[in-house]
Structure formats: structure tokens, C-alpha cells
């Protein structure tokens, strides 16, 4: 079943230096339960596309549906959880209270909020940190808390905009492994923006390679890798072949631009 469907999507920003075409003719279907990575150089529109899905930007052409609704209807129906590059935890709230904030806004009862908060914190292995303030946690832990918050209200779609972009390689590897496990357990449709080729190949069932000026899709790769992926799958020939194809796609996209 198709969860997200984009048909010849266009988006032009009007800036002081004249119009900038951020997205051009994007056509893409994302099926339920897929893990789709968007990879490409800066300015290729990968974040913009994610923001369109989240109804944080409005496309200027084409059609986009999220679970059969317009993006804005989907937003109001709380169809997705969004994880930004910065963890975006409010510093005056403890981790637990940061996670219950969206639940509070959505009108969950107090007991339900507590129960859900405990559950998602357990999911990201932070159950001991509910009463800590964000600054008492490392960057990786903050990002896990941010993911827990996005999971707390059981949205079917998870949108992640370079969530691990600011973290070091070691922490990133661990979080990638955890995210993959989380995805297998929850089976959420996930859209994931990244700069990293290994990260994209390791995580995704589908990789969308994008190129800039104007932002467009250069290649869509359906990953042949199995759903069970230990970290050392990254040394297998299959993995390297996919990574190679992503790299080729990126290079061609840059040459065409």
C-alpha cells in the first residue's frame, strides 16, 4: 500500500536573488513500512522534500499525498513524527517532560502520557533518564530522546532530517544499528535524510539519490540487502555494489548540474 505519493512535484522559493527551484519534477511512491533514504549534496532538495511531506513547506506544483490526504491534513491528523538534525529538546523540561509535551498537546490523559513516556524511553534505552535535563545527556542520548519523542504518539510515519549528522562516527554506528532494530520492531514507514553513503545503504530498503540545481531525483535504488543487517554487512560485496551505484548516481547528478 502506498503511504506517500508524489507526482511531478515542484517547489520554487522566491528569494532576494530571484527564484530558486528547490524541487523539480519529483515523482516518488513510498510503500507502507519502507525505509527510504534521501541522499545528495547540499541544495539538492532532500530536506525540502521532507518538509513538504510534513506540510512545513508548500509545493508550488504537482501533487503530494500522505496516507491519501493532503500533507496539511496529514499533519493535523498527526500522521507523522519529525526528528530534526538538532535534538530540539526544550532545555527547561526534563527528558520525560519533553516527551510528554506532544502528548499533552494532543490531549492524552496524564496516566496515558506517563505510560507512553516510559514505553518509548525503554525503546531507546533511556528509561533511567526521565528526570534528567537535556544538558545532562550526551549528544547521542539527546538524539535518542528526540526519536523517542517522535515515536511517543504512534504516528505511522517517521520523518528524520539528518538526525545523526552532528554525531561522531562511533556513536552514529551504534544509533544506526539501534534505529534499524527499532524500525524492524515498529515497522514504521521512515523517510531519512542523510549525507552519508554507508548510512543510507545500511539503513534503507530504498535509496533516493538526488542532485542539485534544480533539486531532482537522479536515481532510485531498491536495496537487495536482507532486512536483517548486522553492522559487518557493510563489508559484503552486495553492500559495496549498492554503495558504488549510489556514488555513481551522485557523480552523474553533479556532472549534469
Amino acid at each position: 500500500m502506498t503511504t506517500i505519493s508524489a507526482q511531478s512535484l515542484d517547489l520554487t522559493f522566491h528569494t532576494g536573488d530571484g527564484p530558486v527551484q528547490a524541487l523539480s519534477d519529483i515523482t516518488l511512491d513510498v510503500a507502507e513500512g519502507e525505509f527510504v533514504s534521501f541522499i545528495g549534496p547540499s541544495g539538492c532538495g532532500k530536506t525540502t522534500f521532507l518538509r513538504c511531506v510534513a506540510a512545513l513547506e508548500t509545493p508550488t506544483g504537482g501533487t503530494l499525498t500522505v496516507k491519501g490526504m493532503t500533507p496539511d491534513e496529514a499533519r493535523k491528523a498527526r500522521a507523522y513524527g519529525y526528528v530534526f538534525q538538532a535534538a530540539g529538546l526544550y532545555p527547561w523540561r526534563t527528558i520525560g517532560k519533553n516527551i510528554t509535551l506532544p502528548l499533552e498537546i494532543m490531549g492524552y490523559s496524564k496516566s496515558e502520557r506517563q505510560e507512553r513516556m516510559r514505553r518509548v524511553l525503554k525503546l531507546v534505552e533511556l528509561e533511567k533518564f526521565a528526570n534528567k535535563y537535556p544538558w545532562q545527556l550526551s549528544g547521542g542520548m539527546q538524539q535518542r530522546a528526540s526519536i523517542a519523542r517522535a515515536l511517543s504518539f504512534d504516528a505511522e510515519i517517521l520523518l528524520m532530517d539528518e538526525p545523526f549528522g552532528a554525531l561522531d562516527e562511533i556513536v552514529r554506528d551504534r544509533l544506526n544499528e539501534e534505529l534499524l532494530a527499532l524500525w524492524k520492531r515498529t515497522n514504521k514507514t521512515t523517510l531519512f535524510v542523510t549525507h552519508s553513503i554507508p548510512e543510507a545503504v545500511y539503513l534503507s530498503t530504498k535509496i533516493v539519490v538526488m542532485s542539485p540545481r534544480p533539486g531532482r531525483i537522479a536515481d532510485v535504488i531498491d536495496s537487495p540487502l536482507p532486512r536483517d543487517r548486522p553492522l559487518d554487512i557493510r563489508d559484503t560485496p552486495e553492500f559495496l555494489a549498492v554503495a558504488h551505484r549510489v556514488r555513481e548516481g551522485l557523480r552523474e547528478g553533479m556532472e549534469a548540474a
Partner: protein, 332 residues
């Protein structure tokens, strides 16, 4: 826990440990602070000599000393410094002990402050504490009105582009008008519609104190990062919810900085508000009466009284700030 030796890690950390650290910090800074105060006092005493030279020399002449020039008429055109150098002895003899000096010496002000505070019953009209209390009431009321009004204006400005473009220029313009010019008009206009007493003074205080709060709160309410606001949008949070759960908490550090400026401005407003009414009570009235009768010691002690009250008010806000921000986990 009770038998933990004092040398154990973390043994002295806690409330008492923190107090000890604060005292130690003060002791480190105590020397330089005292040195600065001593230099200021020395300069003040030094300035008293030429400032009071005319009177000192006159008093010495009356007591029989020989002074140059010999007649008061000749001396009148001389500067204080020149007179001091011409008569070093007579000029210094009574520079610090005159009844109505041009510039009272620090100890004279201190004695006057002591006599009018500790030395008087608080209910006496001669008590500076009583006068300070009279001024404090409109200060606090005006501060309250100004802070609420300033915050409401800031909320409007942040949420409405029309208000942003239309209110801010007026708010700035309001502060370019000298308060001395507008205070009598406020008093007269309010008096003509039957409002007297506390409220007119409080409104002048509010007039001065709303502005720093508005400026600070506009900045504070806009402090959240775009991604923090986007996050609220992804949860489909209402504008009110975003204000309460994101913008207001994020603005608190800005609010407290503004409140410190505002409370001092409020006190100035209340003092200025006492001047045009010819009030007989309040710090402003003390200043006014002192200048009518040439009581410089009284003027200076009222000025110091006002400064002490202002410092106290700012300190109360600083303590509140520390308590609130640490409760919110915003201080480490």
C-alpha cells in the same frame, strides 16, 4: 552517611559547601572592591575642599584669621580651586563640617542617613524610611502595570505584523519625550477626572518601565530556534500553546534582565511623579524640599536613600531570577 569523613569526595558539597564557596569568592573580590570604594571616598573628600572653599574662607575670616583676598566681594569672582590655593589653611579647616555645604562630605551624608533612618521612628515624617515607603508604593504598582503592559505589547508585536510595524515606533517615540515634561500633564489630566494619590505616580512609573520589558520580551519571545517552532507545528499545536509551552519559557532569561532595568526606571518615575505635585511626602519631596531650603545634606541623603532602595529592588529580582531559572533547570 553521617560518619563520612570530611575529606571524602563530595563531602562538603551541598548547601553549606556552596555558601562557603560564595564567601570565599567574596573574600577574593573583597580587596579590589574595597580599594575602589576607598578611592571614590578619597576623591569625594578632596572635591569637598574647593567646592566649599568660599564658605570655609568666610567662616575663617569671621573667626579672625587673615585671608586673601581680604573682602568677600573680591573672593566671590574667584574659583574654588584658586581660593583653596590662596588660603590652604582656612579652606581645609571647615570644608567637611559646614551646616549647608555646597558638597557635603561623605560622613555628613552618612550621619544624616543614620539620623533619618535608624534615629527616627518609622512612622515619623522625618524618617527617610517612611518617605522611601511612600515612594515605594507607586514604584511597585507602576512596575507591575508596566511589566504586564510591556509583556502584553511584546506578545502582540511578536504575533501580529501590523502591531510590529505600528506599535514599536510609538513605544520608542514615547521614551524620547523627557519624563519631566510629560509627568505634570499626566498628573493634571488625571486630576481633572478625579484620579489622585497613588495611581498618577504609578502611571508615570509604568510609562518608564513598560519599555525595557517590551524590548526585552520581543527579543525573548523570538528566541526559540526555527526548528523549535517547526516542532510545535508538526504537533499541530495552537498559537496559544506555542506561546505558553515554548515562547514564554524561552523568554524568561530576557524577561528578568528587562525587569531589573524596569524596576529602577519605575523608581525614577515615582520620584519624578512627586516633583510637579509639590508633594510633601516621598523621596522626591525630600529632594524638592532640600533644594528649596539649600539643605544639600538632605538632598544627598535622599539620593543615597533612592539608590539603596533601587539596589534592593534589583537584588530582589536577581534572587527571584536565580530561584526561577534554577527551578527550571536553566542554570547548571
Amino acid at each position: 552517611m553521617t560518619d563520612m569523613p570530611l575529606s571524602a569526595p563530595g563531602a562538603a558539597i551541598g548547601r553549606s559547601g556552596r555558601v562557603a564557596l560564595a564567601i570565599r569568592g567574596l573574600r577574593h573580590q573583597g580587596g579590589p572592591i574595597l580599594a575602589v570604594v576607598a578611592v571614590l571616598l578619597a576623591l569625594w573628600y578632596l572635591a569637598c575642599i574647593p567646592m566649599n572653599a568660599q564658605q570655609s574662607v568666610l567662616l575663617a575670616e569671621r573667626a579672625g584669621a587673615v585671608v586673601t583676598p581680604a573682602t568677600a566681594a573680591e573672593r566671590r569672582d574667584m574659583g574654588g580651586l584658586a581660593l583653596t590655593f590662596a588660603n590652604p589653611g582656612p579652606a581645609t579647616s571647615s570644608a567637611f563640617a559646614q551646616d549647608r555645604p555646597r558638597l557635603p562630605a561623605p560622613h555628613q551624608v552618612a550621619v544624616e542617613l543614620w539620623n533619618t533612618t535608624i534615629g527616627q521612628s518609622i512612622t515619623s515624617k522625618r524618617s527617610l524610611v517612611w518617605h522611601a515607603g511612600v515612594t515605594l508604593a507607586p514604584t511597585l504598582l507602576g512596575f507591575l502595570i508596566g511589566s504586564v503592559l510591556g509583556t502584553l505589547l511584546a506578545i502582540g508585536i511578536v504575533h501580529s505584523r501590523v502591531m510590529d510595524l505600528s506599535v514599536m515606533p510609538w513605544a520608542i517615540a514615547s521614551q524620547t519625550i523627557p519624563i519631566l515634561a510629560i509627568a505634570p500633564m499626566i498628573i493634571v489630566v488625571l486630576n481633572s477626572i478625579g484620579i489622585q494619590g497613588l495611581l498618577p505616580k504609578a502611571i508615570i512609573s509604568a510609562y518608564l518601565s513598560f519599555f525595557p520589558v517590551t524590548v526585552g520580551m520581543v527579543k525573548g519571545l523570538r528566541a526559540p530556534a526555527p526548528s523549535d517552532l517547526d516542532l510545535m507545528r508538526t504537533w499541530n499545536a495552537s498559537g496559544l500553546r506555542t506561546l505558553v509551552s515554548l515562547r514564554l519559557p524561552a523568554s524568561l532569561p530576557y524577561l528578568f534582565a528587562s525587569l531589573k532595568v524596569a524596576v529602577a526606571a519605575s523608581l525614577v518615575g515615582a520620584i519624578v511623579g512627586e516633583l510637579p505635585t509639590g508633594a510633601t511626602a516621598g523621596l522626591g519631596a525630600r529632594l524638592l524640599a532640600g533644594s528649596y531650603y539649600g539643605q544639600t545634606v538632605q538632598i544627598w541623603s535622599a539620593l543615597f536613600g533612592a539608590a539603596i532602595v533601587a539596589a534592593g529592588l534589583v537584588a530582589v529580582i536577581a534572587l527571584t531570577q536565580r530561584a526561577v531559572l534554577s527551578r527550571m533547570g536553566l542554570t547548571r
